[in-house]
Symmetry: C2
Subunit: 199 residues, 2 copies
């Protein structure tokens, strides 16, 4: 689950400014989407000077990058002790986040963003950050002996999350409550072996 409010961390004025600016960024993304994100309005809402934002982040794109990474770090990775439960909970949380205004805005911003160097760098850092965290569900399962060590964590995560993103971005179909479990069961046991029943 993602908390749209950035947690206030100790660290003095600099940390407070960052938190206020990111909060304002999230709020504007939630209400207006990426197109409506203007640095001047972020500054006004965060009660800081626009020049402070440019001094710290350099560009609107870098601010968006920082916001995306921040969101990524707030997405909790479940650790229930069972890989099936972890993966189902993760896919459910992802679907729930993408259904929020902020999640919807970030998702469509990522899908619509161009391929200029800033956008590319933001996108790469975002997905690296996401995969680094989510792959832990699979590596822990391998360490527990629940999954063979030949399993590729990246492939498992990609096959888990891509049907969720596919529905939100491409087909725009609702994600049924049972869909995460059906994906995970097909992924873990295979459609030949499982016959569609839970493992």
């Amino acid at each position: 689950m993602v908390d749209a409010e950035v947690k206030r961390r100790p660290g003095g004025r600099s940390a407070r400014v960052r938190a206020a600016v990111l909060d304002a960024t999230f709020a504007l993304l939630s209400t207006r989407g990426l197109e409506g994100l203007r640095v001047a309005e972020v500054a006004e809402r965060a009660e800081v000077h626009e020049t402070s934002i440019y001094r710290r982040w350099g560009s609107r794109e870098n601010l968006l990058l920082d916001a995306l990474i921040e969101v990524s770090e707030q997405l909790l990775v479940p650790d229930t002790g069972r890989v099936r439960d972890d993966l189902i909970a993760y896919a459910r949380d992802l679907a729930a986040f993408l259904a929020t205004p902020l999640g919807h805005a970030l998702e469509h911003a990522l899908a619509a963003a161009g391929d200029d160097p800033d956008a590319r760098r933001a996108r790469e850092r975002y997905w690296v950050s996401r995969y680094e965290r989510s792959r832990q569900m699979v590596t822990r399962a391998i360490e527990r002996g629940e999954l063979p060590d030949t399993v590729d964590p990246r492939l498992v995560i990609e096959m888990l999350v891509s049907p969720v993103h596919f529905r939100v971005v491409m087909t725009r179909e609702p994600i049924e409550p049972e869909m995460p479990a059906r994906i995970v069961d097909a992924l873990l046991a295979g459609v030949v072996g499982s016959s569609g029943t839970p493992t």
Copy 2:
């Protein structure tokens, strides 16, 4: 595989006009993307009157709908007699099509399109058409006894194609040549059972 040139069908002037207009639509989508698709330019390129296009299709959105459905009908569904080979070939063809300028333009048009009634209808008809054709690979495998009849063809197709679309639209990573086979093996045998080796 998709042939970007619409096949000329018998049927007189009406069919020739439709083919010429769709050809022009594909050509403009390939070179300019969705944003650059103007009915006046389609008409000029197809050597028909702009009013003929509006009389037949009603709107630019309906023309795009017809173009999307036409592309869908040209995507061949493999029928090798083995579900693994069919699914791998289908995912490879999809990845190859999305790497063409036309495929890239249509994919990003679908991802970026709004949710107004015309766009929604176009999108729905497109995906219904795609699923109706692609699910045949799974239903034939069930009829052959290769897959249990409890398998949901729609889930299999969705889990097969979504990682391909995910890379093209969201992460923008290249699709490695071996990726389709890895997806299909994980999907058929499961990551627990297969240990990542081919079935």
